[in-house]
């Protein structure tokens, strides 16, 4: 053993989770090592070249609001932007962008290389070292040892990675990378439970062999929206995507070859995600559907590689080319990389606290796909929280636990550590009970105060945030203070900007509750401050939807009361006779930190919760 160096924090893996984690700890003043299998592949996007979407876009905004990097990187390097769900309600609107994969990676690498306290090293970690249930360091395949106060596992799909393309099966990570084969055993030896998950990706094809004229073009939408709250420049659409469909011939080929599909013939043991099925599973599960859509998405501006979105597959190479060529526009297509399935080890997230620290190993944290989640955004979201909390652990300060009513990040982590997951977990808006509160437009208002308090917000971010808050406050006060009474003069004024008559005395704030009335409209006829569009939007949303928003806030507050009743770490559930057996079992396994968290465990009834509350009250205070 060769003692190489000492760090405050070591991050294993430099994917989307690892990068946010390492940037957070380094920025918070911890001497940090970011270890990756390949420095070429920092912040790699092994799956689709896309960032954001419903719930995921909110996660990006939240990471940004906390002082993370993903939003800034996406704004800088994405090549097409769209706002989704525009007609479905403001709370579910989301930004989604096509990324230039290489540019994104270069950007992130450069940020990491220029961050103080952060060392970037190409290393394969094979062991974690613990002492008395506390992490003390890691050992590499070259037998170097690095000591650390905290270690963050962000190993993505690399742990025990196995690639499957039809009958070809080999050990490896995504996109031709190495796998980390020994770390799993080391984790198991520390008493950590692992699960085996699976995910997959489609082929990449050569743009020069695609006949785009047979496909529908899909352009970006020029809207003045960014992922990051600190991006000043408007985004520019530089690329387009293409839509086409499978047909009966495609399906026939797949059906004929189903016996060779690793999904169907038992080669794949891992559990795959339901929201990201391979084309062969779509054919099996929805046999009546006569066509499936697919998008051809550029992998970047400087490459001919196109991602065949919707056609994820682990079929043998010959079947992949055969079925792709039945698709209009792809008749002469050449595959550059085959689609594949990847199986990998991840930890059972029920072993984690809400801080993402392992319950049984102090100082060891885990974030991203190694926690059983999926998606770049989900990974980044856990990464920044693991980073913040590892730094808090090192510095012995308060950890950051986001509530479910505070952010999708709170929902994501609470779901993982409370409910666990039996498939790669993807964030969905339907998982959030207070989604009117968790809008992408107010992520900064919800979370930037945390960033400021912790010290992760740059001076620029602090400045912008304070300006916005002041604008909203001043304008809201003005709206409430300016009262109008029905009279000819006022109603004519209103009419001049297409606002209907009033019949009672009211503050002009009430006018915004009417459909189609904007702050700008009112500013034309009343003396109101000139504020940014984003600030005005906040005011409009909170007034127009106040009824709904208030209802969800009340529910959230009610829940908050239960979250405030904490459960001591050393509680012995078996001593509480009146708990039902199932409840004892579940509570003992998950060990919730509060009554609120306990209510979300399936198998724990309201009566069990009542029993628990009474029991907690009856044990002597320390």
């Amino acid at each position: 053993m060769f003692l190489e160096d000492r760090y405050d924090v070591i991050v294993i893996g430099a994917g989307h989770a690892g990068i946010e984690a390492a940037l957070a700890t380094a920025r918070l003043g911890c001497k940090t090592l970011l270890a990756t299998l390949s420095l070429e592949n920092l912040a790699m996007m092994p799956c689709n070249p896309s960032i954001g979407g419903p719930a995921k876009g909110n996660l990006v905004r939240e990471v940004d609001a906390l002082g993370g990097e993903m939003g800034v990187a996406a704004d800088k390097t994405c090549i097409q932007f769209r706002t989704l769900n525009t007609g479905k309600g403001f709370a579910v609107q989301a930004l989604r962008a096509q990324a230039d994969k290489r540019m994104y990676q270069f950007f992130m690498k450069s940020v990491c290389e220029n961050t103080c306290n952060l060392d970037l090293k190409q290393l394969l970690i094979e062991d974690i070292i613990t002492e008395n249930d506390k992490i003390i360091g890691v050992t590499t395949e070259t037998n170097e040892t690095f000591l650390a106060n905290a270690v963050i596992l962000a190993s993505g799909t690399y742990l025990g990675g196995r690639i499957i393309i039809g009958e070809s099966i080999f050990n490896g990570g995504p996109n031709g990378q190495r796998a980390a084969n020994k770390l799993s055993d080391s984790l198991k030896n520390c008493g950590i439970r692992l699960m085996r998950f699976k995910t997959g990706t489609p082929a990449r094809v050569d743009g020069r062999t695609i006949d785009f004229s047979k496909m529908e073009i899909q352009c970006g939408v020029d809207e003045n929206q960014n992922f990051s709250f600190i991006t000043e420049t408007p985004v520019i659409n530089k690329a387009v995507c293409y839509l086409t469909y499978t047909n009966k011939r495609t399906h026939d080929i797949l059906k004929k070859n189903l016996h060779r599909a690793p999904m169907a013939n038992g080669v794949i043991e891992g559990v795959g995600p339901r929201y990201c099925p391979s084309i062969e599973s779509k054919i099996i599960r929805f046999p009546d559907k006569d066509r499936h859509q697919l998008f051809l998405e550029p992998e970047g501006l400087g490459t001919q590689e196109f991602y065949v979105q919707g056609m994820s597959t682990s079929m043998p190479a010959d079947v992949q080319i055969e079925f792709l060529r039945t698709i209009p526009g792809l008749e002469n297509v050449k595959i550059m990389r085959h689609g594949y399935a990847i199986e990998y080890d991840c930890i059972d997230p029920l072993q984690l606290k809400q801080t993402l620290e392992f319950k049984n190993i102090a100082g060891l944290f885990s974030a991203g796909q190694s926690n059983g989640s999926s998606g770049y955004e989900e990974a980044a979201a856990q990464g920044i929280i693991a980073g913040i909390n590892a730094a808090a652990f090192v510095k012995n300060t308060e950890p950051l636990i986001l509530k479910r009513s505070e952010g999708y990040i709170g929902v994501l982590i609470d779901d993982l550590v409370t409910k666990g997951t039996d498939e790669p977990y993807r964030m969905l808006t339907s998982r959030a009970e207070y989604r009117l509160l968790l809008r992408h437009d107010n992520a900064d208002i919800r979370l930037t105060p945390h960033a400021i308090r912790i010290g992760l917000a740059s001076p620029e971010r602090v400045e912008k945030f304070k300006t916005k808050i002041t604008e909203i406050e001043v304008a809201s006060n003005k709206l409430n203070e300016t009262r109008i009474t029905p009279c000819k003069e006022i109603n004519e004024k209103l009419k001049s900007v297409d606002i209907g008559e009033i019949h009672t005395t009211m503050p002009i704030a009430d006018l915004i509750k009417r459909p189609g009335v904007t702050y700008e409209k009112l500013r034309k006829i009343f003396d109101l401050p000139n504020i940014s569009r984003n600030s005005a939007k906040q005011i409009e949303i909170s007034l127009f939807y106040s009824g709904y928003i208030q209802k969800q806030s009340e529910l959230a507050d009610k829940m908050l009361n239960l979250e405030k009743i904490s459960i001591p770490d050393d509680i012995n559930y078996n001593l509480i006779q009146n708990l039902r057996f199932e409840a004892k079992e579940k509570l003992s396994k998950i060990r919730p930190c509060s009554i609120g968290q306990a209510t979300r465990i399936s198998g724990v009834s309201p009566a069990d919760i009542s029993v628990l509350i009474v029991w907690l009250k009856s044990i002597p205070k320390k």
């Binding site: 309600g89 990201c276 099925p277 808006t429 339907s430 009610k558 009743i565 309201p606 009566a607 029993v611």
Partner: protein
């Protein structure tokens, strides 16, 4: 820790007296009482002195009098729970009590859970730590299995209807959520008018359940008591005695057949449906045989059987036929005319019934108390009380879910966006799920993935 909401329940045991007490606890209990109760002196309860007793009337939402009542106000912390507590003492019997309870729910209270008053008393520091175990025992009490007075009566009867409504709403929510979460996938669009119609239909269905459910099964139908015995054994006297001395609370139930008379009575707070089977006698007459067959089916359906034997006459073949009929059934054996000299071997009868044998005499008014004790022991009053509250709880949940479904239709009408339709429907789903014991989150997501082909 003070609990924010106000709870309400019937505080008196059933069948104890003509007076029933509704107890509320929580910050708003006085305000809620003030909404439902009008004092004789027309003064607001909000300003009433602490621990004062006020006479007046409980009125419904339209101002109609439900019952006359006495209200007792105990302000925090000088009360059992250390919260604001209001007791409403009603005089109008079970039905009025029920109506008053419902009224408190309408005015903002929610049904108390099992043992919740005691739980609050404990959590607020009113009870001592040694009493914690007793509190725990109440909360997790096993639901009594005796008889059919199950806690969730509604579920027994209408759970399939509610599950159906829930299923329909779930389908709509899953469709909307699929469109929201996967806007770029191939999910078929929603025709908003169709959704609106579907919701309207489910509102009607739920409303129908609510209408039928207005009085719980047990309270609506009573505990079924079949009275059998040979002619002149004293059935009619017993029946007359019970119906005349006790309050008949429902008069609109017609006798269903020629040979069976039904009477619905409030037997000291316990609703009983007395079924007098006139036609049991040994016979070859085919018509009377039909009557006997029918009697047999009534016996099978009954919750309790009163088997009457005349102590003043010797044991007959008809008596032994009756003993055969009631073998292994829930029976109370009543030896009638106990004021007369006994001519019957009671030992033989006792062999047939594991239950008590009670001598009664209508003439001397003896034995009736024993009948009451027997019944109240049987039905475990607790379960009756819980079913009483449980029923109201279900009504409240149902009407709240209807409210949410209506809000969803409003959201459609005002074109607020699919998100809001979904949010309202989800609130309704949460409530239905409370009734059916299913979880919402996973169900919506499962439904999305099973119905729609989603994925990159």
């Amino acid at each position: 820790m003070k609990q924010g909401d106000t709870i309400s329940a019937v505080a008196t045991a059933f069948g104890t007296a003509g007076i029933g007490i509704i107890r509320m606890s929580g910050e708003n209990s006085i305000a809620i009482a003030d909404k439902v109760f009008t004092a004789m002196n027309n003064k607001s309860l909000m300003t009433a002195p602490d621990r004062s007793v006020i006479f007046g009337h409980v009125k419904d939402a339209n101002g109609e009098i439900i019952d006359e009542a006495i209200v007792l106000i105990m302000r925090s912390p000088k009360s059992y729970t250390m919260e604001n507590v209001v007791e409403i003492q009603c005089h109008g019997g079970v039905e009025a009590l029920r109506a008053v309870l419902r009224r408190t729910f309408e005015a903002g209270a929610r049904p108390a859970e099992r043992g919740e008053f005691t739980k609050r008393a404990f959590l607020n520091g009113r009870l001592d730590l040694s009493q914690a175990q007793a509190v725990l025992d109440i909360i997790q009490a096993k639901t009594p299995t005796a008889l059919k007075a199950a806690e969730n009566q509604l579920l027994g009867k209408t759970s399939s209807q509610i599950k159906k409504i829930r299923r329909e709403i779930l389908k709509i929510v899953a469709h909307i959520e699929a469109l929201i979460d996967f806007p770029e996938d191939d999910v078929e669009d929603i025709v908003i008018n169709e959704i609106d119609k579907k919701i309207e239909l489910q509102i009607e269905e739920a409303q129908e359940i609510l209408n039928n459910q207005h009085r719980g099964k047990l309270l609506r139908e009573g505990l079924k008591v079949a009275i059998i015995g040979k002619p002149n054994v004293g059935k009619s006297s017993l029946l007359n005695y019970l119906t005349q001395s006790e309050r008949a609370i429902v008069t609109d139930i017609p006798g269903t057949t020629r040979d069976v008379i039904e009477e619905f009575i409030d037997f000291r707070g316990i609703p009983l449906k007395l079924i007098d089977m006139a036609g049991i006698r040994d016979t070859d007459n085919p018509i009377e045989k039909i009557g006997i067959n029918r009697a047999v089916s009534y016996i099978e359906d009954a919750d309790i059987i009163f088997a009457l034997f005349d102590i003043s006459r010797s044991f007959s073949d008809e008596d032994s036929r009756i003993l055969d009929l009631i073998r292994n059934r829930q029976v109370l054996i009543l030896l009638t005319k106990s004021d007369l000299p006994a001519k019957i071997n009671t030992m033989r009868i006792k062999e047939y019934s594991k239950e008590e044998v009670i001598p009664i005499s209508i003439k001397t008014d003896s034995g009736i108390d024993s009948i009451f004790k027997f019944i109240s022991k049987k039905i475990e009053k607790d379960s009756l009380e819980m079913s009483f509250v449980g029923n109201e709880r279900e009504s409240i949940i149902l009407s709240d879910s209807i409210k949410h479904m209506k809000e969803a239709r409003d959201a459609i009408e005002h074109d607020l966006g699919l998100d809001f339709v979904s949010i309202d429907l989800r609130s309704a789903l949460e409530l239905f799920s409370k009734l059916t014991g299913e979880s919402v989150d996973e169900d919506v997501i499962d439904e999305i993935f099973s119905k729609f082909c989603i994925g990159k």
